[in-house]
């Protein structure tokens, strides 16, 4: 598969995530769109990793070039899991205080 197909697929998924963040006002859906964008980036990183491996394989048969990208994806997943737990706690607290998850109500954080 050419790398450009994967880049275009990841770009489209990322743009769908951006449109979701810009248009939806439910805080949970906005959060899910952020997860979608993270996953698009993960897919692109894995595709680049296999591309690097394919390039390095012509010179050296025993190469492990491109493994770093997959470990990077692993760490992105770790950070995303930590981020989701804290973010959902914040959303629950916000719902408890103002009884809504509309992000438009968040323009005044004081009350």
């Amino acid at each position: 598969m050419p790398i450009q197909y994967y880049i275009l697929l990841a770009l489209t998924l990322f743009s769908i995530g951006i449109v979701g963040v810009l248009t939806r006002r439910n805080a949970i859906i906005v959060f899910m769109c952020i997860e979608l964008m993270l996953n698009a980036v993960n897919l692109l990183l894995v595709a680049f990793s296999k591309m690097q491996y394919n390039l390095a394989l012509t010179n050296n048969k025993a190469t492990i070039a491109g493994s770093e990208a997959q470990l990077f994806v692993f760490f992105i997943m770790v950070v995303a899991a930590a981020e989701v737990s804290v973010g959902l706690a914040i959303i629950v607290m916000m719902y408890r205080n103002i009884h809504s998850v509309d992000v438009n109500f968040l323009n005044r954080l004081k009350n």
Partner: protein
């Protein structure tokens, strides 16, 4: 058209349609289920590129843990009826146009880039995505970030408990 290509196009179409359905479904529970569908399609892409470890981790962590957390929070709040109370068409149009502009610009850039021409992704073979290779690397060269991520998890756990506590 080989089987790999058919699978690639099928999984891409599945991911894109599900991602659009995440945006346009009114019920947040349906959005979560469509997002699980997107994660399954992306895991299929990982398997297609023989990144088996990441495929399984993606399924367990994202589709298994994170999405269940989202589902629990949505059901805890009981807001499955009215997600968007008032419509604001101009804002939605502006969002779609700006996202489309970004997509168009970056897609043009990618199509013109000479560096990306004739580079191919290795499908279905290559052993770097297997757990043997990644585990060896993770516990030798990358052991410090691995340990730091455990501290990050601890702080996230403490933070979630402190924030979510009723005062």
């Amino acid at each position: 058209m080989s089987a790999i290509q058919i699978l690639f196009w099928f999984l891409s179409a599945l991911a894109l349609v599900s991602a659009i359905m995440v945006l346009i479904s009114k019920n947040p529970v349906h959005s979560v289920l469509w997002l699980v569908m997107v994660f399954f399609a992306i895991s299929g892409h990982y398997i297609l590129m023989n990144a088996q470890f990441l495929a399984i981790v993606n399924l367990i962590v994202y589709a298994g843990a994170i999405m269940v957390l989202f589902l629990f929070v949505i059901m805890l709040m009981n807001l499955d009826k009215t997600s968007d109370p008032q419509k604001n068409w101009w804002m939605k149009l502006a969002g779609v146009i700006s996202g489309g502009c970004l997509l168009m610009e970056m897609a043009t850039l990618v199509r013109q880039a000479a560096e990306m021409k004739e580079k191919t992704v290795m499908m279905k073979q290559g052993g770097i995505g297997l757990i043997g290779n990644l585990g060896k690397l993770l516990f030798s060269d990358y052991v410090v970030p691995f340990e730091i991520s455990s501290v990050l998890f601890l702080s996230a756990m403490v933070g979630a408990v402190v924030i979510g506590k009723k005062n």
